[in-house]
């Protein structure tokens, strides 16, 4: 366990980098995923097609392949940035497909009778959506959306693995590789680092789930 104490600073920077990657990617994924979900339920056929292609393409490609395509593709269309941002972009694109599906299935899970009843008592389109459908959709969306973001924190390790570096996973690689430490204590440290991030997130999600849960 000496490794943990000795390299605490390194681990700490790793946790921070992992958090940074997750935070930026999470914001990007939420924005992009919401846009794509809107595309998928819109009445405009080309937008629906883009949404469907986006989701089916990104959901079925391994994240590592997505990241390689971003890293080699974006410079070719004259978009240049530090490698860190390519990693964040890749993770955001990949996660946005799952965010989109979570949102869409949430909207679809509200029984049509709800919207019909709202319209029958004379609510306008905006009122129907804003006071009847979306509040219910939000409740069903919380658990899957939370799981998507927890999975994203874990996927940030892949961003580190393809060469962004500096995150918790890469700290483990560095310690067992160039610094020549024994793998098992280092593993314990890295595992603890991820659990510090994912377990509270899971508990928070469980709390939110109970708070907004509805029996349907």
């Amino acid at each position: 366990m000496d490794v943990l104490v000795e390299h605490l600073g390194l681990y700490w920077r790793g946790v921070l980098t992992t958090l940074q990657i997750s935070l930026y990617s999470g914001i990007g994924a939420l924005v992009l995923g919401t846009i794509m979900a809107a595309f998928r339920v819109s009445p405009v056929p080309p937008l629906r097609a883009v949404g469907a292609g986006w989701v089916n393409g990104l959901r079925n490609t391994p994240l590592s392949v997505v990241l390689f395509m971003i890293a080699f593709g974006l410079p070719e269309i004259a978009i240049n940035a530090p490698f860190f941002w390519f990693g964040v972009t890749g993770l955001a694109l990949y996660t946005s497909a799952f965010v989109c599906e979570a949102l869409r299935s949430g909207i679809n899970s509200v029984p049509t009778g709800q919207a019909e009843a709202a319209r029958a008592i004379g609510l306008t389109f905006g009122q129907t959506l804003g006071t009847v459908v979306l509040p219910q959709a939000f409740r069903t969306v919380v658990p899957p959306l939370g799981n998507v973001f927890i999975a994203m924190i874990k996927n940030s390790a892949i961003v580190g693995a393809v060469g962004v570096g500096g995150d918790l996973y890469s700290v483990g690689v560095q310690l067992t590789g160039s610094l020549g430490e024994a793998a098992i204590p280092v593993l314990t440290g890295v595992a603890l680092g991820y659990l510090v991030l994912t377990l509270p997130a899971g508990l928070l999600l469980g709390y939110l789930e109970r708070k907004v849960a509805i029996a349907r």
Binding site: V41, S42, P43, V44, P45, P46, L47, V50, N56, G57, R59, N60, T61, P62, L63, S64, V65, V66, F68, M69, F72, G73, E76, I77, A78, S105, N108, S109, P111, T112, A115, E116, R119, F125, T128, L129, V133, P144, K154, N155, S156, A157, I158, A161, Y169, G172, V173, T176, A182, A183, I184, L187, V190, A191, Y194, L195, T198, L199, G202, R216
Partner: protein, 298 residues
């Protein structure tokens, strides 16, 4: 969500048409810009694509035999071994958790939560680093077989607990009457699980299990970090000679998308068939309830 608004009249249809045209033009413009820039960088030349698509190119057969014959074969081998191991261990975890003493249940919950909180890439990396340190390796096996072994261990650790949770949820979702009837005719807890509950749970959970296949297949692409010669690793090696990374990774992505998209469609088909069967038997009771349970499938 057609219940949100009235059937579109002429004005709404006109707006939709205008929106369609605007969106199509905008998307086309983006596509044109991207293609122009790629073309300006020489990304559409025969030099870049020849080794992948031109049958008269002399390296093409070699490239594809490495990609499919070696890479994809190894990917599928790792995925199927991981699937089998995860299914067996996941079932064992689920069953023992359902029938054992409380202290054991709590221990299992702890392990499940621990393993679910860790990235799969960490498990694969440390299976390959830590297991040889403590002397866990296949005796007399080649390096390649050993990396396969570690990759499968990493994937299995991660996926077995997810599959265990899927099966447990499946058993718990069955009507209580099933277990009660089983014990009423004198079956033991273990018999009722094996003969009555598990067969039904597997059936209802089949779509979720197939979706998990997609996850496992995608995660085998992490084999490249421990130099297991799967599809992505092979493409990386080929790219060092052919110098066309963008084209190569595009092709690899297409291969994954084709396989995983088909698996996803299979899961949807199975789910439709199962829910149709369920609907017929449950229709007289409460049709509205059945519809909503069908959508919670993922």
């Amino acid at each position: 969500m057609s219940a949100l608004y009235d059937v579109p009249g002429p004005a709404a249809r006109r707006r939709t048409l205008i929106g369609t045209i605007v969106a199509a033009v905008a998307l086309l413009a983006i596509a044109v810009v991207v293609i122009q820039r790629l073309a300006a960088q020489g990304q559409f030349t025969a030099e870049k694509w020849g080794s992948l698509l031109d049958p008269t190119n002399d390296v093409m057969p070699q490239v594809w035999s490495l990609l499919i014959g070696l890479g994809l074969r190894n990917t599928l081998a790792a995925a199927s071994l991981a699937v089998i191991a995860s299914l067996v261990l996941g079932t064992v975890i689920a069953i023992t958790r359902l029938v054992s003493a409380p202290w054991y249940r709590w221990a299992v919950v702890g392990v499940v939560e621990l393993l679910r909180g860790l990235p799969v890439v960490v498990m694969i990396f440390f299976a390959a680093r830590a297991l040889p340190e403590v002397g866990v390796e296949l005796p007399g096996a080649s390096r390649e077989v050993n990396t396969l072994f570690y990759l499968v261990i990493g994937l299995t650790l991660y996926n077995m607990v997810i599959i265990a949770e899927i099966i447990r949820a499946g058993v718990n979702s069955l009507p209580r009457g099933q277990a009660e009837a089983a014990s009423a005719i004198g079956l033991t807890r273990w018999q009722s699980l094996r003969l009555i509950l598990l067969p039904q749970a597997f059936r209802t959970m089949l779509p979720a299990l197939i979706s998990q296949l997609v996850v496992i297949l995608k995660d085998t692409a992490l084999g490249f970090i421990i130099s297991y010669p799967e599809l992505l690793r092979e493409s990386q090696i080929i790219v060092q000679t052919t110098k066309n990374p963008l084209q190569m990774y595009f092709v690899v992505a297409v291969i994954f998308i084709v396989i995983n998209y088909s698996l996803g469609k299979l899961a949807e088909y199975v789910e439709r068939r199962l829910s149709r069967g369920r609907k017929m038997s449950a229709a007289p009771a409460q049709p509205a309830l059945v519809e909503t349970t069908g959508q919670a499938g993922d």
